[in-house]
Amino acid sequence: MTVSTLLADLQLLTPELVLAVGAMALLLIGVYTKGEEKAAQRIMTLATALLILAAGLSVWMAQGPGGTAFHGAFVLDSFAMYAKTAVYLAGAVALVLAGHYLRTEQLARFEFPVLVTLAVLGMSFMVSANDLITLYLGLELQSLALYVLAAFNRDSLRASEAGLKYFVLGALSSGLLLYGSSLVYGFSGSTSFDAIAVAAAEGSQNLGLLFGLVFVVAGLAFKVSAAPFHMWTPDVYEGAPTPVAAFFATAPKLAAMVLLARVLMEPFGPMTEQWQQVTMVMAVLSMAFGSFGALMQSNIKRLMGYSSIGNMGYVLVGLSAGTALGLWSVLFYMTLYVIGVAGAFAVILSMRRSEGMVERIEDLSGLSQTRPALAWSMTALMFSIGGMPFMIGFFGKLFVFYAAVQAGLIWLVILAVIFSTISIAYYLRVIKVIWFDEPTGDFLPAPTGAAIISRLAALIAVSMPVVGIIIALVVNAGAGIGG
């Protein structure tokens, strides 16, 4: 490898390099700044700036042609660039949401933003993975940072439990993924996605490859919390500090789903008929567990956990199509989902009373009378996540269903629309509490970051004209792969 090719390779990794070097630098600054509170605040600001810078860089790089680096182990196509920008921005939003919470809960330590930055770096590699090794490295970097974040409130029993649960199940899923990867490597002779695609096309009936595929999918399904690998989600969402749950629900979901889509569409593209059955089963199970599980929840974070399981089910409906249209619908749905969930968690982070944070659904009682702006925002966001028309979330569902019908999966769509009726019931319950019940107490004024993000997300949720722009971006991004 000559210096010039190395430089050319590194150029493609500009945002990652900025993040990696930046994270190390932040760590150093944190260690040498006196006063924990001050260090935390400073690093928080710097890390947010770093993530926004990285997002800017990836937007800027999207003007370029992209390409592969390190002998095809790393790929930068329009798909990856889109996902990266979204992941960086989601990371920045999570940090903005976290600042006030961590300060008031006495959790302000400078490691938090550094860990988030490292997790985002891992995701950045995940979405660019073009090789099983890159895939695993990115996934692990992300996961290790997230395990620590889940247990960040180490004095809290629930947070420690959440961290441990997430770690054990995550390790199990990594094991499955590795086992699957080794099978794939054994039967295709390569870890490179391109070579696997060739092997898959030659022997689509290859049983060993199929076994490997199923294990890899199972491993990734853990990360996107698709049923039947969803068990950790509600517990971790509930136990982890709220801003951490907000982060879990957005950036890692997006990255893992994009990775899953790439793995299925690129190396295993020739085996669509085989994996389609797996994703369809996962889609139906996720929608079922998500919608029935959420009905009886009283904790809003658990509700969001089940809601995310259900929503991943809808995304998998789109992915099951196995077409370019399906891929677009996945990206589109995930984008809308991340916006909606970020807004919803911003509302949850505004649920603070004088005695501390509250997170029961009942605590939202009469919000429409005490905090009308917050109430309207949450209403719009809940309806949007639920896929109600007049909110942008509806178009996500429409696109996903359209892709599936186009691929002939009409029965899957009929099941999906029925589950969407069941799931709308629990979003309605939140809205019922907000609007129909009498107030039981007022919240403290919302922190500025959460207030801005919740209103902004709600505004996007009701701005139907925006949908056209997002679709255009998504179609442009999805043009890179699948075809």
């Binding site: 028309p389 007049f390 178009f395 019908v405 009929i414 309605l428 809205i431 129909f436």
Partner: protein
């Protein structure tokens, strides 16, 4: 003059702008100034709805009734990836519903003038509802239609749930989930149609011949949605709950406009797009309609709650509408549209009448009342007029709608007309008995002694509706002339689809030849 202006978009979205204005106003005002805010919210709402009504009248004047196709068409590309465009337009079938909606909204706002519970939200919800409902009637893109159709659940859910009666939460959920489940099946069918035809433009879809077996499935999916919305027996059970719990203005909108969405859907989608399936299922619809007319009339007779009684009577009247639509004769379809418009006026007025006494005595129990004629003579007269109109007394618009649909039904099958006629008799029984119990007799309940007659605001509302109910009872041509061209085209299209399709199914012509 209006050719260049996007008048339909203006009519559709002005109310939403009004809602935004009210909400912004609240955001800018301090909570101490609530009285000022409430007054302003009412003012804005009334002004906007009246202005929209004026615009809709202007549109009606400009509307060319001789033309069967869509008019005032606006078309903008919107989401090419999903085939969705922003396309609006009205024809003879939809134009009067737009006017009806724009007409009833100011009445709703006026009837809620004394409300003092969360007024700003209330007015905003009603204005949003107006946008969504008018949008349904104007949309010429299938998904756009769906967005408005389904979106209208949101404000209505809030209206029932926040400002409703004792059991409002149950009623709101039932209303929402029933209609939502029906609609999502329609969504699935729409996606299938889109993949088949490659466009969501309703005008193109109207001309597209769908395969016969596909039509059956699509028809059933659309039926699931419209039958619940209508509502047809046996999926009508959400309606009595929703009506009883909704505030007066909510009931007016629900009965006056939202129930018409189902009938409009049948006319816009089911019949022209799936003509063969419509013919196949017509007997089933007849049977369901007759059951609806007879059974709900009998149920209405047993009600002790006057609002519930009117709600069941609405189900029965909607039975005439489905009956008329599926006769696919000119009289039947014209009658169905007439019946929908007339029911929009009469049921709205009846719910307002109930609102008048509910505002005074806070109960809807029939047994509570009696002898109101001595205390509120004007009210008794007005209520009597609308009760008669609801029964279908000649000289009121209710009569025209019923006689037209029944004549249409008679042309198809006399037995169907006979079944429907039973309903007319029953409706006279329950309505007159209820009216007698509430209005006539002697005042036995001391609480009624303090009753006061209609005030000026109630007078205006009910007076305007009374004039319309009587006027259209004598002069039905303004309505039938407006709808005729479009209805004729609809029927022609339907009949030609039957004959075009006939060679494909060999058995049918052979059988008729043998007779």
């Amino acid at each position: 003059m209006l050719g260049q202006l996007p008048i339909l978009s203006a009519i559709t979205f002005l109310p939403a702008l009004g809602a935004v204005a009210i909400l912004l106003l609240r955001a800018l005002m301090r909570s101490e100034e609530r009285a000022v805010l409430d007054r302003n919210a009412k003012g804005i709402a009334l002004f906007v709805t009246l202005f929209v009504f004026a615009l809709s009248l202007l549109m009606l004047v400009e509307f060319d009734a001789g033309q069967a196709g869509f008019q005032f068409v606006e078309s903008l590309p919107w989401l090419p990836a999903l085939g969705i465009s922003y396309k609006m337009g009205v024809d003879g079938i939809s134009v009067l519903f737009v006017v009806l909606t724009a007409f009833l909204l100011p009445i709703c706002i006026l009837s809620s003038w004394k409300l003092d519970k969360r007024v700003a939200d209330y007015m905003a919800a009603f204005l949003l509802l107006e946008t969504l409902v008018i949008g349904v009637f104007c949309a010429l893109d299938m998904f756009l239609f769906y967005i408005f159709f389904e979106g209208s659940l949101i404000p209505m859910f809030l209206i029932i749930g926040v400002w409703g009666g004792q059991n409002r939460i149950y009623a709101a959920f039932k209303f929402f989930l029933y209609t939502f489940l029906g609609s999502v099946l329609m969504l699935a069918a729409m996606i299938v149609m889109f993949t088949q035809v490659g466009t969501t433009d309703i005008e193109v879809l109207l001309a597209h011949p769908f395969a016969r077996d596909l039509q059956t499935w699509l028809w059933l999916a659309f039926f699931a949605s419209f039958a619940v919305k209508m509502p047809m027996w046996p999926v009508h059970t959400w309606l009595p709950d929703a009506h009883v719990q909704a505030p007066t203005a909510g009931s007016v909108i629900l009965a006056g406009i939202l129930l018409k969405l189902g009938g409009y859907g049948f006319l816009r989608f089911s019949i022209p797009m799936f003509p063969n399936a419509s013919e196949f299922f017509a007997p089933m619809v007849f049977i369901l309609s007759i059951i609806a007319i007879v059974v709900t009339s009998l149920i209405a007779f047993r009600q002790t709650d006057i609002k519930k009684l009117i709600a069941y009577s609405s189900v029965a009247h909607m039975g005439f509408v489905t009956l008329g639509i599926f006769t696919m004769t000119e009289l039947g379809v014209q009658g169905a549209i007439f019946q929908m418009l007339s029911h929009g006026v009469i049921s709205a007025a009846l719910f307002l009448c109930i609102g008048v006494i509910y505002d005074r005595f806070h109960t809807r129990e029939i047994s509570f009342y009696g002898g109101l004629v001595h205390k509120m003579p004007v009210y008794a007269a007005v209520f009597g007029l609308f009760a008669m109109a609801n029964v279908g007394l000649p000289g009121t618009s209710g009569f025209i709608g019923e006689i037209m649909t029944m004549t249409g039904a008679f042309q198809v099958d006399p037995r169907v007309a006979a079944g429907a006629a039973l309903g007319v008799i029953f409706s006279a029984v329950y309505m007159l008995v209820a009216y007698k119990k509430v209005v006539f007799g002697v005042v036995t309940n001391p609480k009624l002694e303090a009753a006061t007659d209609l005030n000026a605001r109630e007078w205006i509302n009910l007076g305007v509706l009374a004039v319309l109910a009587v006027y259209f009872g004598f002069f039905s041509t303004p309505i039938t002339d407006t709808t005729r061209a479009s209805v004729d085209q609809l029927i022609q299209h339907y009949q030609s689809a039957q004959t075009v399709e006939a060679p494909a199914a060999d058995a049918a012509p052979a059988e008729t030849a043998a007779h």
